[in-house]
Symmetry: C2
Subunit: 593 residues, 2 copies
């Protein structure tokens, strides 16, 4: 069973991702290390003791649609109320609405642990938190007064309604329409698919944020508006009024995250209310809905990245535990009685260490991204811009690398379990099934790569990414400067990998400059992975050079060395794919005809 | 829906894997190209029209245990009888028992197509064919007379009972016991798990081959005997007699291959018959059971490799079809109206081409392995030994590389489908779920790597593998000699990859020579993948240089180039892991404590 690795998480936050310096510099105001530790410990306890034990039942029972109502798995309603009772839903929300306004770094760390306990469960609150952010930034005072405090407390949950059957990655073609009413509100008509936690039995009301198009809106993405559509209308005194004209038509039968209801939502079908059309309220300005979504998109993408980290960690823990217990054959050098635990076999140890390295690397990247988000919030002027750019750059890498790691690590976890891994009762396969959605939703990893290459590399004319790569070189130099034998050839391997990253970056910047967009996009995914792999190596190295005084220095150095000497060599091949793969890709298009 | 790629398969058999030369040289006797083509066409038709349409229902309904009997999915019983009615079950079986004694190359090609239609369905016959082979080689005349013809015709199916809860990869510790009876038969007692198609409603009888231990047997693998245990005893006239004391206790709830019943079998519980103990008949000699299993293990491993090829092909076809149809966004250079098909996006094209390359490479490796099996059967003396060594060397690579490709390609297939890929009704997720068992069963891919490095590389003191690598270099040279521009830098990339393979091979041979077993095993999996990747590149190159006159030369050359310039660069990192990864792996063991 998953046990939240609170110490490892705290170490990564403080000594790798920059929290220690931020605390020292007073970036987080009054917040001190003691409180950070206490929050992490309690979030971890909740994940370990309350969420994780209900993960399996959620997978097995799934969410079910019965007479138009969604029945959640046994015990999940109570779990949700215990969780919001702990104040977790408002961790980063504004204090004015009952939130705790704590750093995003703490939030992602806590999210990691809850997702590791049950990704299907933690996914619901993730959506609510995103909606809180959008409403806080773009909603009118009236909307905030009516909805925000209850969303922060968790009394009501919220959803994001973007996707339609023909509009997924490309929202410009969505068809859901909104009609203006005389009182300033709107009526919404249309069908939305893949709506996570669109209907459930946790709370009395659900607040839907819905993208729709006004009759006179321009075509494409510049004609999309954002509306708040509650399941139940809210009376002036805050009590619940009539049922709004929106309902869950069906649930998807999915590969994983079975406990999370994925709904097709119908707006304005006339099923409820006297008049057709779900009543909605404009969030932000008309035709500026996509801008409102973009506000929160970076954080949502990072949140999905955390799911990758979470599943990777949970799968790794499970595989290590099994490999210590299961005996089979005799590993070379085994001196014990009878068969050796399979962890003694080099091939199994290699799989487990690879899982560990990818998990730690993904975690560090994601936390560093959250750190940049926090620093941007706390900074002004050039500093704010610097950190804003850093979080922008890191977001697609955190999302894609961590979610790919989630799948790869979970798949290795199945492999470590042998035949038992294929049996559902074992639980290893659930991680693979759950993990598989994360590289897809919230922008496929291919979309992330396009974003990284075409929008993030050009930030400050390439100066930001170049400056970042220079920082990475300094960390590699610090490894060399330690002269610790335990690092093996790590410094040299890091240098080589960083050079690959730098070369690929310059090639892409030149391609973009020269208008060679297809060339740049041809290697975008390889570049994104290259960047993530380099960051994995560098952040593990940074952890290895930290003196945390916890007696785990040698272990961290050994993992850094393993990573540098075994995984980083792949950067050469990835760079190669970026700088010389486009022509053969273009030539091979004929194969697909 | 899957459509058997008969032309592509025929091309690979003939022009890449060596069938054309073998036919010309009369290796297969009277067999001519016309008959080969006719058999492939009909096997493909059956896969496309009869098996594939029933794949989904098998996944959805699964096999169910009702009152001790296994109910197979709707339509599967008829499908099975149509399939055996076509004579397919006895394709390679001896003519004396009603088989067709056709080459193994044809068999693997046909198996690929049926597995692509439904892996869960094709798995049953795979087990029967293995049992036919074991019985034919090691069974007494009496046993053959009673059982073999009915197994060849498919009137009865057969199973392999090896695994027990504590004996999976390490069969030496199995506990199922056999007691001698006065009449020369035995009574079997014990529990076997993970028994594929151990019980079903296809046929009136099921023939179990069971590994068990005699009371006075030596410990370990040298004390294991093989027994034939029929579900129903067979009377002297061939009619069915009493029910034997064996039954299916339960079915596993698995990640995939739901249509295939995975049974826990109980022997000698006293449920059936007057006296406790399932009646069994010795196959081969007492305590030599494992040798009997080894006879068929290579072919069984290759058969599992075919499952990887099959799923990879089916997943690739499905993804290409979807990517042509689904529109989203506008790819750079797209000049059509509105959104472009997603296949126009470079990242999607790259995924599809990678899928195509891994599928074709796996197929070629597996067919080349089958070719070696056929050549070994048809040869004598040094030639027989040469081909025996070749098939021995290729088997672990074919099994592991193709099954890893099955998983990787199916996972890419899910990704290409975006959100729809996560929805079970789409069918892309089923391929991933089904594929995931193949790297595990019939010896995990880690076990294959141990076999490759410790048993196959040392064949003929390393001369065999060195000779093989020299052959690969000749193919690379042939690419260069064509001077065709379409190959791009393929020749140079192939040379570099082959050099990596050669360097890693020499390092491993030296490590084995020096008794550094842990060092050798530390890089075994990386080496196995390196070998598979080099073979993928080389066999695609061989296909690219072939003049088949089918107008597809340019396409094959383009895929070869894409593979060489995009995928082969990974060989450097893999070699690196082999020759310098062991020390850091050993040092990092402390991370796992």
């Amino acid at each position: 069973m998953y046990k939240a690795p609170v110490d490892e998480i705290a170490f990564t936050l403080k000594h790798v991702a920059g929290m220690a310096e931020a605390l020292d510099a007073g970036v987080f105001g009054e917040l001190g290390e003691d409180l950070v530790d206490a929050i992490l410990a309690e979030a971890g306890r909740f994940a370990t003791e309350e969420v994780a034990p209900l993960g399996e039942v959620g997978d097995r029972q799934g969410a079910r649609l019965v007479d138009g109502a969604v029945k959640t798995p046994e015990g999940w309603r109570d779990l949700y109320h215990n969780w919001v009772g702990g104040g977790w839903n408002g961790l980063t929300a504004p204090e004015a609405f009952g939130g705790q306004n704590l750093p995003h770094m703490l939030h992602v760390a806590a999210m990691e642990m809850w997702n590791a306990g049950s990704m299907a469960f933690a996914l619901g609150p993730t959506l609510t938190m995103g909606a809180i952010e959008a409403l806080e930034k773009h909603g009118s005072e009236a909307l905030k007064t009516t909805y925000l405090a209850k969303m922060v407390s968790g009394e009501w949950t919220a959803t994001m309604n973007l996707t339609e059957p023909h509009a997924g990655s490309d929202l410009g073609v969505l068809k859901t329409r909104a009609e203006r009413r005389d009182d300033g509100s709107y009526r919404i008509f249309g069908q939305k698919i893949f709506i996570t936690w669109g209907e459930h039995d946790f709370t009395d009301n659900i607040v839907h944020l819905v993208l729709a198009r006004l009759p006179d809106a321009p075509t494409g993405t510049k004609g999309i508006s954002l509306f708040l559509v509650p399941k139940f209308l809210v009376n002036a005194d805050g009590s619940l009024g009539a049922r709004n004209d929106v309902f869950c038509h069906s649930l998807e039968h999915k590969l994983g995250i079975h406990g999370s209801p994925t709904c097709t939502m119908i707006y304005g079908d006339g099923k409820f209310g006297d008049e057709k059309g779900a009543i909605g309220y404009l969030v932000g300005e008309e035709n500026r809905g996509l801008a409102c979504m973009f506000t929160m998109m970076n954080n949502a993408r990072l949140a999905v990245g955390m799911q990758g980290v979470a599943i990777a960690d949970a799968a790794t823990q499970k595989a290590i535990a099994y490999a210590k217990e299961r005996t089979q054959g005799r590993a070379p050098g085994w001196r014990g009685e009878g068969m050796s635990p399979i962890i003694e076999h080099p091939d199994v140890a290699r799989m487990l260490l690879t899982m560990k390295a990818l998990t730690q690397g993904s975690r560090a990247i994601a936390y560093a991204c959250a750190h940049a988000v926090d620093m941007a919030h706390a900074s002004k002027g050039d500093q704010a811009r610097h950190w804003q750019e850093r979080s922008s750059l890191l977001t697609p890498i955190a999302k894609s690398f961590a979610t790919d790691a989630g799948v790869d690590v979970a798949s290795l976890g199945v492999q470590v379990h042998g035949g038992m891994g294929f049996i559902e009762e074992t639980g290893a396969a659930r991680y693979l099934r759950d993990a598989r959605i994360a590289p897809i939703y919230e922008g496929t990893n291919g979309i992330q790569a396009i974003d990284l290459v075409t929008r993030k590399l050009p930030l400050s004319d390439g100066a930001h990414v170049r400056g970042f790569i220079a920082e990475l070189s300094e960390i590699a130099a610090a490894v060399r400067a330690t002269n610790r034998k335990g690092f093996g050839k790590a410094a040299a391997r890091l240098d080589a990998a960083i050079t690959d990253l730098s070369d690929a970056t310059e090639w892409l910047l030149a391609a973009l400059d020269g208008g060679r967009l297809t060339d740049a996009l041809s290697g975008a995914t390889a570049y994104q992975r290259l960047f993530g792999l380099v960051l994995t190596g560098v952040y593990l190295a940074k952890g290895g050079t930290a003196e945390a005084g916890d007696g785990k220095e040698d272990t961290r150095i050994a993992l850094c060395r393993f990573t540098a000497e075994n995984l980083l060599a792949e950067t050469g091949a990835l760079k190669d794919r970026v700088v010389s793969g486009a022509e053969s890709l273009a030539a091979a298009r004929a194969v697909l005809v």
